[in-house]
């Protein structure tokens, strides 16, 4: 019975492309937006501090020092821009698929990565909500397997309700497999 309802049995290579092109759910737009704002604000603060040091009137910098600071400012600006754009693309490219027996996480911009965690191997689940998450009614789920802390499966940017029901789904599933 268990096997007949099984959705992923790609034993022949021909059936595999379908596996990869499965539909996946992107992260909540609110999460991506909040993350964007957070990145822009934090990088702006750094740039602002550098600018204040450069142009503050209290103890004017020497010409050399001023020159060095303009270079630092330019480099920091470029890095910030890159980080903001890449961060946005990274969030945008992150998505997940919940299946009957496992959960997959798709991520990466240049280096694409798919992580698949079977429910059967899950040790415990954590639901995490920071202050911003709570404000926006978001949550992230952390799934731990015996693979160790280095291989924790983390899925951010879910609505709180989704996260709760997902957790329940996984726990119920595990229960079924342990006792059934």
């Amino acid at each position: 019975m268990e096997q007949s309802t099984f959705s992923n049995e790609p034993l022949s290579i021909e059936s595999l492309p379908a596996y990869q092109s499965q539909e996946s759910t992107p992260l909540e737009p609110a999460y991506i937006k909040a993350n964007n704002i957070l990145r822009i604000v934090s990088f702006s603060v750094i740039l602002l501090i550098i600018a204040v040091i450069k142009w503050q009137p209290f103890s004017p910098l020497s010409a050399d020092a001023s020159h060095v600071f303009s270079i630092i400012l330019a480099v920091a600006g470029a890095i910030s821009l890159f980080a903001i754009v890449m961060g946005y693309l990274y969030d945008k490219n992150k998505s997940y698929t919940l299946r009957e027996h496992d959960i997959s996480l798709y991520s990466g911009v240049i280096f694409k990565k798919v992580t698949i965690q079977p429910f059967l191997r899950i040790q415990h689940i954590e639901l995490k909500r920071g202050p911003i998450d709570r404000k926006l009614d978001l949550a992230s789920i952390q799934v731990f397997s015996a693979g160790g802390a280095l291989h924790t499966f983390e899925l951010p940017g879910l609505t709180h309700d989704d996260a709760l029901s997902m957790r329940q789904y996984i726990l119920d599933h595990k229960d079924v497999t342990v006792h059934g």
């Binding site: 595999l16 079977p118 397997s145």
Partner: protein, 510 residues
């Protein structure tokens, strides 16, 4: 035997040594600071001696108190232990809960014929009972009493049809059943192991507290020969070829010494190595100074690793590792000794041991698929060529043409090594296991049962996608294994196969 008893006073020595080791190992980070301030310390030598004396005597008092407050008594079916100076601990351990009775004899107990009893329980390590410094015959008598009780209990249970299955298994495992010897290592094997593997740190770990005085002594030793390094190096009398000969000779000498130390380390760690089997448990005992015992239940085995360094390949010896649950949970220190590893076994012994663990395993016979040659292209393109070009540019700019030949040699050797690495890479999968082979000059084989997979990962950069290649990683409870540069179809196939096995068979991973 119903009255409270104290252990022998010899236990003070053991408590003292253990506390001292704990103190040294926790303050090991202070060594650089002490080193830096050694001049100041030398000036106030009297205070240093006073402080050292105070610490030692404090440790001694602590050890005495630990001895004084340690009491135990044996009853018909349980053992009670009262211990602790400030934090009192009362342990009441029924014999049926004892999984394993270990007798550990540290080197300083041997002349007195005392031993330390360790009673393992199924629960956490905190509930373990240690009875330090018991006379050997008494310890054996107690062991017999516990095991006899368990055997009796087990017999009773067998008569009684409605036995609890888990209780029985506990009794089963602890029964003094016949331990079957699987493998033994002779001194010669250990010498070979020391030669082929760097086991220097086992030796250094013991010497660490004395390292300073050893260096001091070595320095004086050299000076006593009238050998002054400075004068030797900067003396114009020696022509360059003579100097380089000296260097080569001293390098060989140093290598020889390191080898010797490594052999010593191997002997210290693995002396009297025995791998035995009792029911479903594999027990490894080894050690020269204090004997270490590692126990692994068969279902706990996650991955078999067959390691051969280049020297091992030449003399056909193998280090066989049986990996259990990951190193993250266990403490990193002494990790190697907590692992089940058979050092430097011969080919036939290795095969026997692997067959014993996973009989259907085809680690050496299976056809390994090569990975894509893009691996070589990336290695040369991304790392070797830029470094070579940089060296050449430096040569052109500074007109130091002497740099060019070494740069070319570097390019050739590094490319050759990349090719060797590529040649070693291989992967395979059958109905039950995933196999990976890798190495450079040596060769390592990894193998794990598919149903022990915890998680799978698929990685692909945009460059790899153009060539329809990918990296695939399998995470098990012992460690994770990545197979790089394989066709993406095959990568997906391996992943979905293993997921399918995990999810449909629903086998336990431990």
């Amino acid at each position: 035997m119903d009255n409270w008893q104290r252990v022998s006073k010899v236990s003070i020595v053991d408590y003292f040594v253990k506390n001292l080791i704990r103190l040294v190992s926790t303050s090991i980070y202070a060594i650089p600071a002490i080193w830096a301030s050694s001049d100041t310390l030398k000036e106030h030598l009297d205070y240093v001696v006073l402080g050292g004396g105070a610490v030692i005597s404090l440790l001694f008092v602590a050890a005495f108190l630990q001895y004084f407050f340690f009491k135990y008594r044996l009853k018909e079916d349980n053992i009670e232990i009262h211990s602790g100076v400030l934090f009192k601990k009362h342990l009441d351990l029924p014999f049926t809960r004892v999984q394993n009775v270990k007798l550990i004899t540290p080197v300083y107990f041997r002349p007195f014929d005392y031993t330390t009893m360790e009673l393992d329980t199924a629960g956490s390590a905190k509930n373990e009972a240690n009875i330090v410094a018991v006379p050997k015959d008494k310890a054996n008598a107690m062991k017999q009493q516990i095991l006899a009780y368990q055997a009796l209990h087990q017999a009773e249970e067998q008569v009684d049809e409605q036995k609890e299955s888990d209780k029985e298994s506990v009794a089963n495992e602890a029964a003094v059943g016949d331990e079957k010897l699987l493998n033994e290592r002779s001194l010669l094997d250990l010498v070979i192991h020391g030669l082929t593997n760097n086991r220097v740190f086992f030796f250094l770990a013991i010497l660490a507290p004395m390292a300073d005085s050893i260096f001091e002594y070595a320095n004086q030793f050299l000076l006593s020969f009238g050998f002054d390094v400075k004068a030797f190096l900067f003396d114009a009398e020696h022509p360059w070829w003579q100097l380089s000969l000296y260097f080569i000779a001293s390098f060989i000498m140093a290598y020889f010494i390191v080898m010797l130390i490594s052999i010593l380390g191997a002997i210290i760690a693995f002396y009297g190595y025995k791998l035995t089997k009792r029911d479903n448990n594999y027990i490894q005992r080894s050690g020269l100074l204090s004997i270490h015992e590692v126990v692994m239940k068969k279902p706990r085995l996650q991955m078999i690793v067959r390691q051969q360094d280049w020297l091992d390949v030449l003399i056909k010896r193998i280090n066989l590792k049986f990996e259990q649950m990951g190193g993250l949970e266990r403490h990193q220190q002494n990790n190697v000794r907590n692992k089940l590893m058979v050092p430097s076994v011969k080919e036939n012994e290795c095969r026997e041991l692997i067959d014993e663990m996973w009989p259907t395993n085809k680690m050496t016979q299976v056809d390994y698929q090569p990975i894509s040659q893009r691996f070589i292209v990336r290695g040369i393109g991304l790392f070797i060529t830029p470094i070579t070009l940089l060296l050449c540019v430096i040569a052109v700019v500074s007109e130091q043409w002497i740099i060019v030949p070494p740069a070319i040699v570097f390019f050739v050797i590094a490319s050759g090594l990349i090719w060797c690495r590529w040649k070693r890479w291989g992967y395979a999968m059958d109905d039950e296991y995933v196999y990976v082979r890798k190495g450079l000059l040596g060769v390592n084989y990894y193998c794990f049962a598919i149903e022990k997979t915890q998680m799978v990962k698929f990685k692909q950069s945009i460059f790899l996608r153009r060539h329809k290649l990918c990296h695939t990683a399998f995470v098990t409870a012992a460690s994770s294994l990545t197979i790089p540069f394989i066709p993406q179809d095959i990568g997906w196939h391996l992943m979905s196969q293993s997921l399918y096995k995990v999810e449909s068979l629903k086998k336990n991973w431990m």
